[in-house]
């Protein structure tokens, strides 16, 4: 019985003009997303290569390591081609210094705001927006449509168990819709290496998980549609209910959860924090200047060289003290802000996860490693590199720690120094965490998507057992 209903469902859906048209549109969009994503990735790689080359080029001819202006760059992630996540919103460049805070700057959207206006057509967008609508379009009248056509009563004039019927309907609809959609997705996957996106085993695993997550998300909207269809007697009513549910799930809940979290947890802005840091820095500067002045008055001596040496030593001591105080203050300030920001993020994401769309987007961006963790991971990698860079600069006597004290004395004639060899500079290499870590990160959202499916499936199942088939 189950097989008969499943078979009917497959043939009924695939044989319609509605399916042919919507499938055609979706197939074109999916292939376009793969193509556009791959092209964007290529452009990002070119920009990244150009930035790295330009960074090295502008250091050519510099004769003192202390004068270099070194920057490091976030390499594009291959799967950002399909799930752009926040990869276009976060800064891709860090101005490297031997000390101090590192802050990524220069996001793609900041540099080319036009892309931010329309955003990119990626696979995540297609799943989240287009395919969820696709599921609603084919599921909204699963049960009440049969009732309106009179085929439900005719079917149940036979010895048809209701559980097998609803099971056949849901699984049949799912297979009828997802199998054809997998064709353009698989073609797109095969196109990726041909379009210049380097795919290793890790990337393929991530991509497979993204597609699995998308499939689960698609199933959520399909089971929801069938569930709503069993709750209503008219297909026009269920369609309206589902459109409203879609608007809430896709547009309202994720956005309003961020706003609500912002209301609940007050996080100082970066500017406010910077202002505090600046104020404290100015205070420390004044203290240091006063200390220097006091030292000069207390230690004045006629031997200019000795005095300069003493002053230099005191200045270094003072600088270390200032660095330490500033470091503690900045860390404390940053920690406070980070804690509040983490709390706000936690609240926002918890609220947003009421919507399956948020769960899907978070899981997909975790898997593609284009989530908010990307920025933190880049900053961590940059901080680790900063240590390496600082050691290198110290080895080159180029760590001056802020202002340079210039003593007055007879000019010394020295030979023209050789240019620095930029190849000596330690290389910055950024490696995203392995796929296994990304999968672990995405597990809560995958679990939620599973729960949504189970809930709507069970709802449809229970409700249909009491459905008036007349």
């Amino acid at each position: 019985m189950f097989k008969i209903i499943l078979d009917k469902e497959l043939r009924e859906i695939i044989g319609t003009t509605k399916f042919a048209v919507t499938f055609g549109v979706c197939a074109v969009l999916i292939l376009l997303a793969f193509y556009v994503g791959a092209r964007n990735y290529q452009i990002s790689v070119q920009e990244y290569d150009a930035s790295v080359t330009e960074n090295m080029r502008q250091m050519e001819g510099v004769t003192d390591w202390a004068n270099i202006d070194h920057r490091i760059f976030l390499p594009p992630q291959p799967l950002a081609a399909l799930v752009s996540g926040v990869s276009n919103d976060i800064g891709r460049t860090v101005n490297m210094d031997v000390r101090g805070e590192l802050r990524p700057e220069g996001s793609r959207f900041a540099e080319d705001p036009i892309f931010a206006v329309f955003r990119f057509l990626d696979l995540e967008f297609i799943f989240a927006i287009v395919l969820s609508l696709f599921a609603i379009l084919f599921g909204y009248d699963a049960i009440n449509g049969e009732k309106e056509r009179g085929t439900l009563s005719l079917s149940f004039a036979n010895s048809v168990p209701r559980d097998k019927y609803i099971l056949g309907k849901i699984i049949g609809s799912f297979l009828a819709l997802i199998i054809p959609l997998m064709i353009p997705i698989l073609i797109g996957c095969l196109m990726l290496p041909l379009l210049g996106v380097p795919m290793n085993a890790d990337s393929w695993l991530r991509l497979a998980m993204v597609i699995l997550t998308g499939t689960m998300y698609f199933a959520v909207f399909l089971t929801l549609s069938v569930f709503i269809s069993t709750l209503t007697q008219r297909s026009s009513t269920s369609f309206l209910v589902l459109v409203v549910a879609w608007v809430f799930a896709v547009l309202i809940i994720p956005r309003s959860s961020v706003l609500a979290a912002g209301r609940m947890v007050d996080v100082p802005s970066v500017d406010e924090v910077d202002f505090e840091k600046g104020k404290y820095s100015a205070q420390l500067f004044d203290e240091r200047m006063n200390a220097m002045q006091a030292w000069t008055q207390a230690n004045y001596q006629s031997d200019h060289r000795l005095m300069m040496e003493g002053m230099q030593a005191f200045r270094s001591e003072q600088q270390a003290l200032v660095d330490e105080k500033m470091g503690i203050f900045v860390e404390q300030l940053n920690q406070e802000r980070d804690n509040k920001a983490d709390l706000r993020t936690g609240v926002a994401l918890s609220l947003a996860r009421i919507s399956p769309t948020a769960s899907f987007s978070l899981a997909a961006s975790d898997l593609a490693f284009t989530s908010m963790d990307l920025r933190a991971s880049f900053v961590d990698a940059a901080s680790a590199y900063q240590q390496e860079f600082a050691d290198f600069m110290r080895s080159k006597n180029a760590d001056f720690g802020g202002d340079v004290f210039v003593g007055h004395g007879a000019p010394v004639v020295v030979e023209e120094p050789d240019p620095i060899d930029t190849r000596e500079l330690p290389l910055f290499a950024y490696e995203p965490p392995p796929a296994s870590e990304a999968i672990n990160e995405s597990l809560p959202d995958l679990g939620l998507l599973f729960m949504f499916n189970a809930f709507f499936f069970a709802g449809a199942f229970v409700r249909f057992n009491r459905y008036d088939v007349r």
């Binding site: 019985m1 008969i4 009917k8 043939r11 009924e12 044989g15 319609t16 056509r149 009179g150 085929t151 009563s153 005719l154 079917s155 149940f156 004039a157 036979n158 010895s159 048809v160 168990p161 008036d468 088939v469 007349r470």
Partner: protein, 271 residues
């Protein structure tokens, strides 16, 4: 033809009808249905339909005809009483009971994107017949009067009469001993109506027990063995058709619907 093809041949039905047994196939026993809002849709309705008998149930809108059929189909559960199909209580063993009935609704819609044959194939399989061939479907469609040119066309272009014929073909394919027809001639043109009456006669001769709700007094008189009139959930009259010869059924119907007769006198069980 396949093993199951005999089921569409009106001379070789493999149902257990026509075996000389006169035990009722369909039996309503003190059926009552009161909805949650308090409306009494059926009030102590009892009747029987024997093999090879057509029972025409007349009545206005809301009289309880369709409710009675729905109770037999277990689409609604009776508040009191039982609907039995071949002795099986419909609301107690619905799946078993439904093996013994075929059903044609008032407005057969079927799947508009399936062809006539695809619709027949699906519903035949639902009815437990998985061995039919395309020839079987063609034969039964020709039997119900659907021209061959329409057999492989999608139903969305079919007229109501054509869809109704498909519905009847589905009922025939199920080869059940009892058939429930809910306003089957509603909306059919006169020639299709006549064709339908001829077909019902054939099914009766196969030994099928047929319960038909209808507004069509003349066709009911023409084909039925027994005629019942329902009004406000009550079976107010039940008579053998032969007893009504010479009587103006239309006048009788109007009188019963207006409540101008003594129902105690007229309701008699036809065995």
């Amino acid at each position: 033809m396949s093993n199951e093809s005999a089921s569409v041949d009106n001379t070789q039905s493999n149902s257990n009808s026509g075996n000389g047994s006169s035990a009722p196939r369909l039996e309503a026993f003190n059926l009552s249905k009161r909805y949650e809002d308090g409306v009494l849709a059926l009030n102590n309705v009892s009747f029987q339909v024997a093999p090879g008998e057509i029972y025409a149930m007349l009545g206005g809108n809301g009289a309880g005809k369709t409710t009675t059929i729905n109770v037999f189909l277990n689409f609604i559960e009776p508040s009191e009483g039982e609907a039995r199909i071949d002795g099986i209580v419909a609301h107690k063993e619905p799946l078993k009971a439904k093996e013994h009935i075929a059903y044609v609704s008032e407005n057969v819609m079927l799947y508009p994107n399936f062809t006539a044959i695809q619709n027949l194939d699906f519903f035949a399989k639902l009815g437990g017949h998985t061995g039919y061939t395309k020839d079987d479907y063609r034969d039964v469609l020709l039997r119900v009067g659907l021209q061959e040119v329409a057999h492989n066309k999608r139903l969305k272009g079919f007229s109501k009469g054509m869809r109704q014929k498909c519905g009847i073909a589905i009922a025939i394919l199920k080869d059940a001993p009892a058939i429930l027809l809910d306003e089957p001639t509603s909306g059919l043109d006169p020639s299709a109506g006549l064709e339908f009456i001829r077909l019902l006669g054939d099914l009766r001769s196969e030994g099928k027990a047929i319960l038909m709700s209808t507004h069509d007094i003349f066709r009911a008189k023409e084909i039925a063995n027994t005629i019942g009139i329902m009004n406000q959930g009550v079976l107010v009259m039940e008579r053998a058709a032969k007893d009504l010869e010479g009587e103006n059924l239309e006048d009788l119907y109007v009188q019963y619907m207006a409540g101008h007769t003594d129902s105690e006198q007229d309701v008699e069980i036809i065995s």
